[in-house]
């Protein structure tokens, strides 16, 4: 017979759950409000979401304070793991979400924002990601991932046009396959170690000296495939361009940041000990992933005719670039990953928002797609300020100093250099040059071509409201004045990463 189990509430550390629960409460509240009184304006939900996210943010601040004082905190039967990585990534997730949610306040009306469920799902998704990063239990990672993913599929589809359905279906189907990979991989590691917690897996494997190397590699192969899908590494990237194109620009921008940082953190947790285990195979494979993803994605981005699709490939390429951090696996590289991603958040947020405010409902004849390059021809003449801002984001993405992404790039390349990955550093550098071309292409269109007849520049801000402009302003300021923030940011991140043992 089972004896009753007594567990003190204190030992649970329920506070570790707080940041994740807040969005859930928010989501439920929004659903409740809708039940009580339907047909309310979207601004209400936006502000509510913002409020809950800010609360979330404050709890994160608390958690970070806790971390600086007490180090890593475990909670809820050691399922919850609040360490530096978790806090940093949650900061990024929440911050990015706060910056993206106001994008719902567009001038034009879009289908998804008429649903309160949109905001509820959005908050659920955030909590899903938060769970995913704040644990090292593969089960919770899996469940969190699926919660977030299922919400995300729905959010994409709710844009309600053919392309978004197509995108959602593709994303969903491939996601289901990736889920299969993940579970199979988890199964292999469970078989190997009898545990589904990453630190225990690491412990057991190290203890027996990776005796079953074949099993380990099969497991790693499946895991890698699953993460590669989420991180859009080639050849698991094929969903990314279509999904970015199919979803609204705001959602695409969101997707390029938040799901990936969550996946990166999990990948970091999972691969850190493997990278340091001296398995040559993993080094080679990760190296190949990094190089191929960076290079091939850049090449495909070159030949795109649509800016959003180009940015999709560019995001793939950036992900490949950042993947190098996992490969290198030093404190510097892991800090570089977070630094890069914070800066990338601002820049990519800005560029996708710029696309978002120029969103048209119907396309003029000369324009092939929502954001084809032609649309931006001669923008400097008809809408100089948006053109300048867009140019700024492009330059930042290309890694032109002193704009935000440059700092991430040098720190990342420096991490490669420091660890002796000279060739990798060169490949990373040269890929930036290739990437320069397609960012430049947009600049060329904006600054050096003549505008199409009848284009008075209104189209570029047709979807703009004060909220969107503010977001762009924040992004632009963040991009330009990044150099001021680099030092505190770097110190903060490095301390957190280092104290988490990565």
């Amino acid at each position: 017979m089972l004896a009753p189990i007594n567990i003190s509430l204190d030992s649970l550390n329920v506070i570790t759950l707080a940041p994740m629960l807040i969005p859930v409460v928010g989501a439920l509240l929004i659903l409740m409000i809708d039940v009580i009184k339907g047909g309310l304006h979207k601004s209400l939900y936006v502000v509510l979401s913002l409020l809950f996210l800010s609360m979330d943010f404050f709890f994160l601040l608390d958690a970070s304070e806790m971390f600086t004082q007490n180090g890593t905190v475990l909670g809820m039967f050691d399922v919850m793991l609040v360490d530096g990585l978790a806090i940093l990534s949650q900061f990024i997730i929440v911050m990015a979400s706060m910056l993206f949610i106001p994008l719902a306040l567009t001038h034009k009306r879009f289908h998804e924002f008429t649903y309160p469920e949109f905001f509820a799902l959005f908050l659920f998704m955030i909590s899903g990601f938060q769970f995913m990063v704040a644990t090292d239990n593969l089960i919770l990672i899996f469940v969190g991932l699926e919660t977030a993913s299922l919400s995300l599929y729905t959010l994409i589809a709710m844009h309600n046009r053919d392309k978004s359905f197509e995108a959602a279906v593709k994303y969903f189907t491939m996601g289901a396959l990736a889920a299969g990979f993940f579970s199979f991989g988890a199964m292999v590691f469970y078989a190997l170690t009898g545990s589904v917690e990453i630190h225990k897996i690491a412990l057991v494997l190290t203890a027996n000296g990776y005796a079953d190397i074949g099993y380990v590699l099969v497991g790693v192969a499946f895991m890698l495939a699953a993460f590669a899908f989420k991180l859009s590494l080639i050849p698991f990237h094929t969903w990314a361009p279509d999904v970015y194109e199919g979803s609204s620009a705001s959602m695409a921008g969101y997707m390029s940041i938040v799901p990936k940082i969550a996946a990166f953190v999990v990948a970091m947790r999972f691969f850190e000990f493997l990278v340091h285990s001296g398995i040559v195979w993993l080094d080679i494979v990760l190296y190949a992933f990094v190089v191929i993803t960076m290079t091939a994605a850049n090449m495909w981005a070159l030949v795109q005719t649509d800016v959003k699709r180009m940015l999709a490939y560019s995001s793939i390429s950036h992900a490949g670039f950042v993947m190098a951090a996992i490969l290198i696996g030093t404190t510097q590289s892991n800090s570089a990953l977070f630094l890069y991603w914070v800066l990338f958040t601002f820049t990519n947020l800005g560029s996708f928002t710029m696309l978002w405010i120029s969103r048209q409902k119907s396309l003029p004849e000369h324009q092939m797609s929502d954001h084809s390059y032609d649309k931006f021809a001669g923008m400097i003449k008809t809408a100089p300020v948006p053109a300048l801002i867009m140019g700024l984001f492009m330059l930042s993405l290309a890694g032109i100093p002193p704009f935000a992404l440059f700092w991430g790039k040098i720190y990342m390349i420096s991490a490669a250099v420091t660890s002796g990955y000279t060739i990798l550093a060169l490949i990373m550098a040269l890929n930036s040059a290739i990437a320069g071309y397609y960012y430049l292409k947009l600049i060329v269109y904006m600054f050096m071509k003549e505008p199409v007849v009848g284009n008075d520049g209104h189209v570029y801000v047709s979807n703009a409201t004060l909220a969107l402009k503010t977001i762009i302003g924040i992004a632009a300021v963040g991009t330009i004045f990044a150099f001021v923030a680099i030092n505190p940011l770097l110190e903060f991140i490095t301390a957190f990463v280092y104290n988490s043992g990565y």
Binding site: T173, M174, L177, I213, L217, V218, L224, I284, N298, W300
Partner: protein, 639 residues
Amino acid sequence: MEKYLYIALFAPLVSSLFSALFTATPKKLFTGIIASVLIFTSFVASTILLLHILKGGEPIHVTLMTWMATGDLYIPFGFVVDQISVTMMMVVTLVSTIVHIYSIGYMDHDKGFNRFFAWLSAFVFSMMILVMSDNYAGLFIGWEGVGLCSWGLIGFWYHKEIATWASNEAFIMNRIADLGMLIGIFLVYWNTGTLQYDEAFALMPSLDSATLTWIGIFLFIGAMGKSAQFPLHTWLADAMEGPTPVSALIHAATMVTAGVYLVVRSNELYSLIPNVGLFIASLGAFVALFAASMALVNRDMKRIIAYSTLSQLGYMFAAAGLGAYWVALFHLMAHAFFKALLFLGAGNVMHAMHDELDPFKMGGLKKVMKWTWIMMTIASLALAGIFPFAGFFSKDTILEAAFAEHHFVIYGVLLFTAGLTAFYSFRLVALIFHGEERYKIFGIHPHEAYRFMLIAMSPLLILAMIAGVFQEPFFAMVEEILSAHEYHIHSHTTLWIMLVGTQLFVALAILYAYKKYATWSSVPDGTSPIENSFFYKLLFNQYYIPYFYETYIVKPYREASELFWTKVDLKIVDATVDGIAGIVYGTGEKTRQMQSGNLSTMLKWMVAGLVGLLFLAVAFGLAARYSDEIIVFLSALGV
């Protein structure tokens, strides 16, 4: 005395700048006059300096300011007036004063009158820097400066294609030689640590002879260009496209002798390396003969005189090379007088004949141009070296020197050339001034030049006649700094036989020329047997050297340039860069098919990726598991 130095130096600059102010305006007579006055001032100052030196005064050495100073290098604008430079200054200022005055008349109707004086005075200034500088770098300023002015003056009539071509040719050919000069300067600097003449020469005896030889050779290459020595001689004949006063000043009296000046100036160097000296002398003798031979058949009045100049430069180099620096300098001076006179006379003729240059189309001009005739005849006599004219003293001394140094081949060549010189000079005089008035066929009405032009020429006439008397004082003056010893043939009999023999030989050549050409009556049309003979053609075409240069240097250069641009630069270098970009882009374009948009394909890619990873994993896993067996197997294979 420094005051006079500066006056002599800067008066031409002022003149040039003043005239330059009016270059874009129509003709202003006063520019010519003021320029002439200023140059004359310079002449006066030079004379005062000459007198100072003659009186045995110390050479004047001034440093105006620093030009370049970096590292150990220190180059000032320093000027020195010593025996050598004052001689040159005299020659330069005198001839240029005369040419300036003469040009007022000669350029009378030219719309570039003001511009002409600007260039001409600039030339004088450059030449003064060249001769007065106390270091090689300063010399090089003048060296390039005269090259520049020569370019501007040869191409003065820039609307004429051939003139501009000739000016560019002159400039570029000089540049080739200048490179040698520059290298010579570098050698001097890196071996002695200075470019000042006195300091450098003081250190030179301590250098090894190979270095000195190289310095000598490279400096002489510089001299070869300026003095148009073979094989860089072709530009001088082509330079005759410029206005005739220019030819008189630059291409006869001053600039072309700069090379001689350089060798004379560097006498302390060259006396350390007699081998190079011998080479210079041999080349000089060769050029003397070579140029004279070309002058024999030429049908262009100015070119004949130009070849004659070339030939005389050969004499000077022969003298300098043999160590007879003062002789070379003296011949330089004497030559300047009578050759300038000859050119100015030719200018008168040209003016009269409406720029006709073929002497065969003239004839009998002595009736209308009596003074010109006299002047040119005397100049030619001086050139031929007939006693008691200037040429006799200078040229004969060269012959004596060659003889006394026991270089009999050189002596023989020079002697023979003296005969040729006499022949072509009087061929020219005879054709122009004697015989039938063939110009009438072409309907030309010749007239004598302006009186003031003739008067301006008269000092030259006088000097051409009497310059010989300066030989002794000149020797006395320069012997201090030039390793000067008089060349006396010890046996008086030999001396007299030589003197008289030479005179006779030359006189016979003159007579032959007169006999053959004084009664010439027709214009040759290229049909006579002599004109079709091999030697005539060879000489007339200047040994086919210009043709050779054009075919084997200029054309290949042009073609290679074209090739480098269209094939190498665009098709290889640039195409490689574009090719790399193209490959990157093309790979993107080709492989984007991977993104077919079909979900089924996407899923297949995912599975394929997984299988690829698994394959690697299994391969690696098996390899790790059976590593012992694999190593056994491999070692069995002998790996």
